[in-house]
Symmetry: C2
Subunit: 274 residues, 2 copies
């Protein structure tokens, strides 16, 4: 049995989006090994019910536990919103999601107390960003907007396409009208649309990327719990492992396009067995 | 045990798209009862692998058999392309898909032997429409184009939106250049985009809707196998049953917007248990 602090960190998402979180963990917490799971056989999570997302998340957490992870990151806003609090009580390792770190940073950033949140239908309907923000800043105005076409547009690599620009204009117009000064990118796919969203919102609106905030939060958590690996960080680290429930090759290609390292393969598993 | 020919017909799809097939069955084979299953917890199927679609289809067929269906319709082009032939050999009831009837009608329709097919990535990559068409018309030219954004656009009800028009123009331009005279709508969502697709392709191109052809094929099959129900058809038939793996309420609302009857509810089941 590996000494506890040398065990890997488990990170999961509905698919490729959570790789933006894995990327920030690699950049900001060198020396740590990651076990990543992307639920590509059941993606997307954004339009599905709480009950279903909770069942899927429990299966994934059981799989990650077979990999002896020392901590778990729910790198999916929908699963963070629907499943994190219930799963926390069923676990003996620390678990963090992307919603709370994003909400906290937005509260530290805003000057006019008007915060926008964009995400999937599930994330926005859950109201969880609003709840976390109001706990910190009870007088904050939070305006949530679901952007259901952003995920398919990112998955089609239409990152700077006129169609994406048009949809962004529609989704974001209500937020511009409300004069927010801070916007949370509340879905792990959305940082890949940063250029388009930034252009529409303008330089006066700060974009908060929960992926980055989550990596910082995870680092702090590992230090507090004395779980930080003592291994020296190496260039081109290869101790990470990637698992998916389907389409391993296209996952690997996408991963290699956004991660700071090249991965050789993603292993396909049957998540329904967990 | 119900007399065999009075048993219901099982119809399944990844989600709501197959309701266009259920609608044609209700219109064209009065008196028959339907058991419909929509796999809304794992939708969409279009970007997933053959192995995964086959596993999902087997689970659904096992569920439909618990409902004592007399025949099964695979009302999903991706599942028809990836799973139908393998499942056929494992079953003791007749099963038909949407691909073969669509291919047959396209062959009867074309005059210049240039046939276009639009569908999901999975359906187009399978090459199954081309294969079936070439069996009937070995000299036909078949041009397949994947339209991955059409399903999310339909699910957002953007049926006549300028964005949908723009995407349709891009996807269909290669088909216009190749001067096809017949276009198969090779995904059960696409008949809902008929107006946009028809406007771009023009009056000289005949659109083939496999949902309608499948209902006709099913009627013939039931008659040949002496499985046609002898029940008199009733106005506002309510003997149908609807099952989903998630989001039963939004499924019911969508169903009521496109079916000729109103359904009271869709029942949620855990398909992973089958």
């Amino acid at each position: 049995m590996t000494e506890k602090k040398e065990r890997p960190i488990g990170i999961f998402d509905s698919g490729v989006g959570g790789l933006t979180v894995a990327r920030e963990v690699m950049r900001n917490i060198p020396g740590e090994r990651i076990v990543y799971f992307g639920d590509t056989a059941r993606v997307p999570y954004g339009n599905k019910s709480k009950e279903t997302i909770l069942r899927y998340s429990r299966q994934i957490v059981r799989f990650l536990q077979t990999q002896e992870v020392k901590a778990i990151v729910v790198a999916c806003n929908t699963a963070s919103a629907f499943a994190l609090e219930e799963i926390r009580h069923e676990l003996d390792v620390p678990i963090i999601g992307v919603v709370k770190p994003g909400a906290k940073t937005a509260c530290e950033t805003t000057k006019n107390n008007r915060i926008g949140v964009i995400g999937t239908k599930g994330t926005i309907a859950s109201g969880l960003y609003t709840e976390f923000i109001r706990k910190i800043k009870p007088d904050a105005q939070v305006i949530g907007v679901a952007c259901p076409l952003f995920v398919p547009l990112v998955e089609e690599s239409m990152l700077k396409d006129p169609v994406t620009m048009e949809m962004a204009r529609r989704y974001l117009s209500a937020l511009k009208d409300r004069r927010i000064d801070t916007l949370i990118l509340g879905c792990t796919h959305y940082p890949l649309l940063r250029a388009v969203i930034g252009e529409i919102m303008g330089a006066d609106v700060t974009l908060v990327n929960p992926a980055y905030e989550t990596a910082r939060g995870l680092k702090k958590l590992l230090e507090e719990e004395e779980l930080r690996s003592a291994r020296p960080a190496k260039e081109g680290e290869t101790g990470h492992r990637f698992f998916v429930s389907d389409a391993a090759e296209s996952f690997r290609d996408f991963a290699n396009s956004i991660l700071p390292i090249d991965i050789e393969k993603a292993q396909k598993i049957n998540i329904e067995e967990y």
